[in-house]
């Protein structure tokens, strides 16, 4: 039982990280109907910026404080994501208004490859580390119930709390603020939104910036756990089944979807894996997503396609 719980927690934590990446997909899809293939590349780019700035700033300005370095690096990385959002809107999206979804998807695919390369040109292509002072030692809980307790990583716990906070902030932003309402309006019908004076360009810059913010948070957490390297951008591929499962238009869906995938992956690997010779973790998520596409194409929490006849 203790082992089961350990696996379960491990899965939940891994799932939380998938959710963070999936969030970026959902945000952009909701507001602009673009399936942003570049989300993974944005995570890598943000993490690279964060890691390198934290390394460079103390050298450039001659100070020691780790906290200050991280803080400044975070601000600088966020600023880069905003500039990036603005550039993507200016140079790419605004030229493609009212094009087919597939055209936009191809454009984001292009952006993904560009970002992968450009990030490494700017920041180098080695493996870097992000040290934001996440606790690295494991904690043992429920020691009264099981012998030896259940081991969980404190780092994962902190990550989960941050992810949860991020989701709450985003949900409030979408539901309660004027800009959030405008974002949802644009998501529903961007021509109508334009007709009542919502400027699409501004909205797109905002939403790509918010997605950039989500990418930065995801990048920091993944980066501090596994190191910052090229493979980080492939994390996005794990987020695809998450958004299919949770629904492309639902922020809570991205979270729950991530958790289900994370847990499902780990449990199936441990309990079904031995029967099939292992390696389930790699493809489990995709098979689950496929199954979901057959029975509930809008995902668990996706907006039902409302059609009046």
């Amino acid at each position: 039982m203790g082992f089961f719980l350990e696996t379960l927690f491990g899965g939940l934590m891994a799932g939380m990280l998938y959710s963070l990446v999936a969030l970026g997909f959902v945000l952009i899809y909701k507001a602009s109907g673009v399936f942003n293939f570049a989300q993974g590349a944005m995570v890598l780019f943000a993490a690279l910026a964060m890691a390198r700035f934290a390394e460079w700033f103390p050298k450039w300005f001659g100070f020691e404080s780790l906290l200050l370095a991280n803080l400044l690096a975070f601000i600088a990385a966020m600023a880069m994501m905003v500039v990036l959002a603005w550039a993507i809107e200016r140079l790419c999206l605004s030229k493609l208004v009212n094009q087919e979804g597939i055209t936009l998807l191809m454009a984001t695919l292009g952006i993904a490859y560009f970002l992968d390369g450009f990030g490494q040109t700017l920041f180098g292509s080695d493996i870097y580390s992000i040290n934001v002072g996440m606790p690295k030692d494991p904690a043992f809980i429920l020691e009264g119930m099981f012998e030896g307790g259940v081991m969980v990583s404190k780092e994962d716990l902190v990550a989960a709390v941050i992810a949860a906070l991020l989701v709450i902030v985003l949900a409030l932003f979408f539901q309660k603020t004027k800009t959030g309402r405008a974002l949802r309006a644009v998501a529903d019908d961007h021509q109508a939104a334009q007709s009542i004076g919502i400027p699409l360009n501004t909205i797109w810059v905002i939403v790509w910036s918010v997605a950039g913010f989500a990418a930065l948070i995801a990048g920091i957490i993944w980066g501090s756990k596994l190191g910052v390297q090229f493979t980080l951008s492939l994390v996005a591929l794990k987020a695809l089944p998450v958004v299919i499962l949770g629904g492309l238009t639902s922020v809570p869906g991205a979270i729950i979807g991530g958790l289900i995938i994370g847990v499902g992956e780990k449990l199936s690997e441990i309990y079904i894996g031995p029967m099939l010779g292992g390696g389930i973790e790699i493809w489990f998520a995709y098979v689950l997503a496929l199954g979901f596409l057959l029975v509930r194409p809008q995902g668990l929490f996706g907006e039902k396609i409302i059609d009046r006849v």
Binding site: V97, N98, K178, R181, A182, R184, A185, A187, D188, D189, Q191, A192, A193, Q194, S195, I196, G197, I198, P199, E303, I306, R308
Partner: protein, 279 residues
Amino acid sequence: MNTSTTNAPPAPESNILLNVNGIEVIYNHVVLVLKGVSLQVPEGRIVAILGGNGAGKTTTLRAISNLLKGERGEVTKGMIEYRGERVEALSPSDLVRRGVVQVMEGRHCFAHLTIEENLLAGAYTRSDKGEIAANLDKVYTYFPRLKTRRTSQAAYTSGGEQQMCAIGRALMSNPNMVLLDEPSMGLAPQIVEEVFEIVKDLNAKEKVSFLLAEQNTMVALRYADFGYIVENGRIVMEGAAQELASNEDVKEFYLGLSGEGRKSFREVKHYRRRKRWLS
């Protein structure tokens, strides 16, 4: 072009709100849709653009509100003035800030937002909280139906309610001039009357000017002050609403009435229409 109108152009009034002068619109760089349309909307009036499918009514409205770009169209000739200021180069949101807002054909409510959220989204260009609240109240007094449905998602409301929501949403930006595209489309005759009554009311009490595009000539001429008839991208006739309604050609081609009662010789009609107007 033979504008064989029997009526003189509108008496030159000093307070022309909107002046459209000889605009040409081309879609996709090749398709010429408007071939020199000129019209004027005096302050505080309801002006109707009438005509059949594909005549260029919607394109005219979109040219004014600058929503053509999304449809790959552009104004290539002529000029559009609002309160004496050239507005062709302004973005739709700048126009809304200046007081010109369009209600699109087919309503286009935000399906997943509630009615009230739809209305509040319409106030995007307004920042004064008190003003927004006052406008919301005003919209609810003109459209009491919306108040009863305020928490429903727009997609689940009826066609009439959606049309009201679309008009109410436009009113939230506190406009001087509303471009209203096919408000009667797909609505029951009774609801059409209800919507037009409210338009008339808004015009009389709130001094909002309307430029409306309609296929429903009969109803539109009953509520409008002035009308333009568009065919094939040109204005073929213009005049005060009552004059148009009593014009023989309009009666025959648009109201389905003629001296010998109802007829349906479509070929003949088409030929005669060509001969008289389009030659």
